[in-house]
Amino acid sequence: MSRVILEVDHLTKAFGGLLAVNDVSFQMYEGEILGLIGPNGAGKTTLFNLVNGVYKPTRGHVRFLGQEITGLPPYEVVKRGLARTHQIVRPLNEMTVLENVVVGACFGAENLGLEPAARVAEEVLAFVGLAEFRDTLAGKLNLAQKKRLEVARALAARPKLLLLDEVLAGLNPAEVERMLGVIRRIREQGISILMIEHIMQAIMSLSDRVVVLNFGQKLAEGRPQEVASDPRVIEAYLGDPEMAKKILEEEA
Amino acid sequence: MPEILASVLDGLLIGLVYGLAAIGLTLIFGVMDVVNLAHGAIIALGMFAVYLLFGAGLHPYLGLFVVALLGLAFGVVVYLIAVRPILNAPPLMTLLSTFSVSMIIIGVGTAVWSTSPYNVNFPVTTLKILGYTVTSARLVAALAAVLVTGFLYYFLYRTTLGKAVRAVANNREAAELMGIPSQQILAISFGIGTALAMLSGALIATLFPFTILSGGVYELKSFVASVLGGLGNPTGALLGGVILGLIEGSVAPFIKISWTNVIEFAIFVLILLTFPTGLFGGRR
């Protein structure tokens, strides 16, 4: 078995009285794609924000490659090789696509100067298929392109672990296919991926393992097929286990 | 000791007037997230409005009603020209557009009235309250500030229009979904904020001499009072004004008067840094 890349240990985040993430623990291994699923409001994005340092946890620890990164600010986390994308895209609107990716390369794990960063950025843009838009202002891209830009910026940081937050949401089937290709090729480069996704079909086909959150707590963890047939998971999603099972079967 | 109380009493009375000015500023921010940098110039307009009405033979206190109506109309005009087109632009834009309005008002005001001081000269009597000497003008100004605030609260909480203003302040999109014409409400809110600023200016004009530039002082005090009370919170702004007045009144006996401003601004910056939402909770 390969070594542990990320360890989430009894992680808890309270907003006022609400426990958005409640005592969640799991591990992920190098080279793995781990899916993070759960109904809306289950605390998935909050968990991402805890892992990459946007929020400080109320309790618990995050360890990356065996090092404690709990409470480190996001810009430190990136430098250690943990990059992420946003669920709601956040392009730097008044900067070009290339400049957006150069920011990622410059301030990422390799801490590059402007010129090497530009080379990395060109390479990454070609990789995600945005090369032709390099001089377009980022604000002018369509949603699918913006999603790919998110991925490109994160990749330009040269991460060992990539957190993808719903990169497929809002895309049409052709665009989804294209993005899935990108994700597979990222994995082929040996980058581990922790991804939040709502499209079950995608998560089931891509993930090595899946962690399910519900009301901030970990509900289940395991291989996609095991999790998909877990009645607790199905109930969490749909209230009616029979109905949910039927839908899942249809999708698969 | 009694002298300190006299000073504190003075501070309380003037603080209510500061509070009224601050409500005008904070109401606009609360409803549409705009910091109105024309606030000071508008306060000065209120001063000159009451001065002109007085010159035309209207008692300053009767003039207040006219000033309020003028303020409402003027505010709606300013909103339509300078605020509405850029309401969804970055905050810098509304700061600058309201500031440009301020430049225009002060420029015209300087051309018309120069920057020389003016006075609303009407007979003032002195009253004794618990043994302290208070001029009638100060007492009336404070009372008027309280009445106007009371009236505003009645409007906001008891009338349909007022409830619509609060709904828009709370969540513009949701209010629109419920069929509230948000553009009209925003215009009216800006008008009310402007009217309050002009009223406070008019009240100040009954107390002290003023120039077209005098509004600046009260604009800064309004900032301080609204931030103390939490930007966007009218009750907070009134309390902030009172606190400001009380600080002025209670520190005055112990330090050089000119240090009060330093203390006020230092408190202002400190509050912003430690409680950005004010002592009584702001909108965010």
């Binding site: - | 002298e3 300190i4 006299a6 000073s7 003075d10 501070g11 003037i14 300087t110 120069s114 920057t115 020389s116 001081p117 003032v124 002195t126 000497t133 001029t135 100060r138 107390l207 002290f208 001499p209 003023f210 005098s214 002082v217 002025e248 009144g249 005055a252 006996p253 050089k256 008067i257 000119s258 009060t260 401003n261």
Partner: protein, 398 residues
């Protein structure tokens, strides 16, 4: 044809201007805080110009020089003053300068006049400190701040041998602070107890906190103030709040006729004054006090305030220096100013010439006025020095 005449007239004017004109430059606060005082001063200067030119100009070295004035509005703002004085010197090429009104603005103008080596007669500026910076081209007409209130305190002591507690409250300006600081030292020497010594910011309109302090300190008399706008407001609020003071002496404001607009609030208020129409100086040159007063009344329909007299006197001093020098050459005029020791309708004029105080006024003295009711009308009376008085001091006033 008509055009030709206009052209000829213009050429004639030009010839006159080139040969026989001396141009005096200055700024006036037509707007802003100092506008009342400054416009008074301007009227004085303009009256001098008219007076000189009506006589055919200044006789210098056998020729007559007409006086031309060049001035701008400084809006009572320091930064404008420096721009405009640079402009007067480098662009308008004026021959001599008169200061703006007020010590603060004059201090700024003085730097420019000194940087360019232009002679400036400072009027409407009493601060001593301007003359302690090592300038060599600036000359003061007014009695300096350090001697401003000494007469007031002498008078108060003479009126009431038992009075102890006085408050000194002054505007935070160059002039008023200098006056107040000097007055404090003199008061303590005279056996008064200064129970309150405090400045208020220039923009003050609410004197409530200060008035509360005056009450709290138990002051029996008040001396202080600053300039017109703040002084008038201060006096009004002192009256409205019924502060029990035996004497109120304020700088500048009560010496203006406009002060009468305060009505009963003006009653009894005392002011040191640089000059009053009723003074009896025996002039050695220029008009007599009575002649000046009459000219001013004819021109402006009211009695001259001392700022107007100061403006006229500034022109007269320049005129006299050019006549003494027999030239408009700056070095010669400067020598004449250094040597000057004359009495005008305005009083005695003599400048310090030692490097540490160069240009400071040594000769001129203050008089004290008080607002009194005469047959139901408010009027200014000279109440000190005793030799010059036109009425007895009313004391205590409230």
């Amino acid at each position: 044809m008509k055009r030709l005449w206009v052209l000829l007239a213009l050429l004639g004017a030009l010839a006159l201007a080139q040969g026989h004109t001396v141009t005096i430059g200055f700024t006036v606060s037509k707007t802003g805080k100092y506008n009342v005082e400054s416009v008074n001063q301007l009227h004085g200067i303009e009256l001098w110009q008219k007076w000189v030119n009506d006589q055919g100009g200044i006789p210098i070295g056998g020729q007559r020089y007409k006086v031309a004035l060049k001035y701008y509005d400084d809006e009572s703002k320091a930064e404008r003053v420096q721009q405009l004085y640079s402009r007067l010197i480098s662009q308008d090429k004026v021959d001599f300068l008169i200061s703006p009104y007020s010590s603060g603005l004059t201090a700024k103008a003085a730097i420019i006049s000194e940087q360019y080596g232009k002679i400036m007669v400072a009027t409407g500026a009493a601060s001593d400190s301007i003359f302690k910076l090592g300038y060599e081209h600036v000359y003061q007409i007014y009695t300096p701040a350090s001697r401003y209130l000494t007469g007031t305190l002498d008078m108060l002591r003479a009126a009431d041998a038992n009075l102890k507690k006085i408050a000194i409250v002054y505007e935070d300006s160059k002039f008023a602070k200098a006056v107040a600081t000097a007055a404090k030292a003199y008061a303590e020497k005279k056996g008064f107890e200064v129970v309150l010594f405090e400045g208020y910011p220039k923009s003050t309109t609410d004197f409530g906190p200060i008035i509360n302090k005056i009450r709290a300190a138990g002051a029996e008399a008040l001396v202080g103030g600053g300039h017109y706008a703040d002084g008038a407001t201060f006096a009004r609020q002192l009256y409205e709040q019924k502060v029990p003071l035996k004497l109120i002496a304020l700088l500048v404001a009560p010496a203006s006729d406009e002060f009468a607009q305060l009505g009963d609030a003006a009653l009894g208020v005392v002011a040191p004054s640089q000059w009053e129409p009723l003074v009896k100086y025996q002039q050695t040159c220029g008009p007599s006090p009575a002649q000046f007063t009459q000219m001013y009344k004819d021109a402006y329909g009211k009695l001259p305030a001392y700022r107007a007299a100061g403006g006229f006197a500034a022109g007269l001093v320049l005129q006299r220096a050019m006549m003494d020098a027999g030239s408009t050459d700056p070095a010669k005029v400067k020598a004449a100013l250094d040597a000057m020791d004359i009495t005008l309708f305005f009083g005695h004029i003599k400048f310090a010439t030692d490097p540490a105080n160069h240009g400071l006024q040594l000769g001129h003295e203050m008089v004290q006025i008080q607002w009194q009711k005469q047959g139901g009308r408010l009027a200014k009376q000279i109440v000190w020095p005793l030799g010059a008085k036109t009425a007895d001091l009313v004391y205590p006033i409230r």
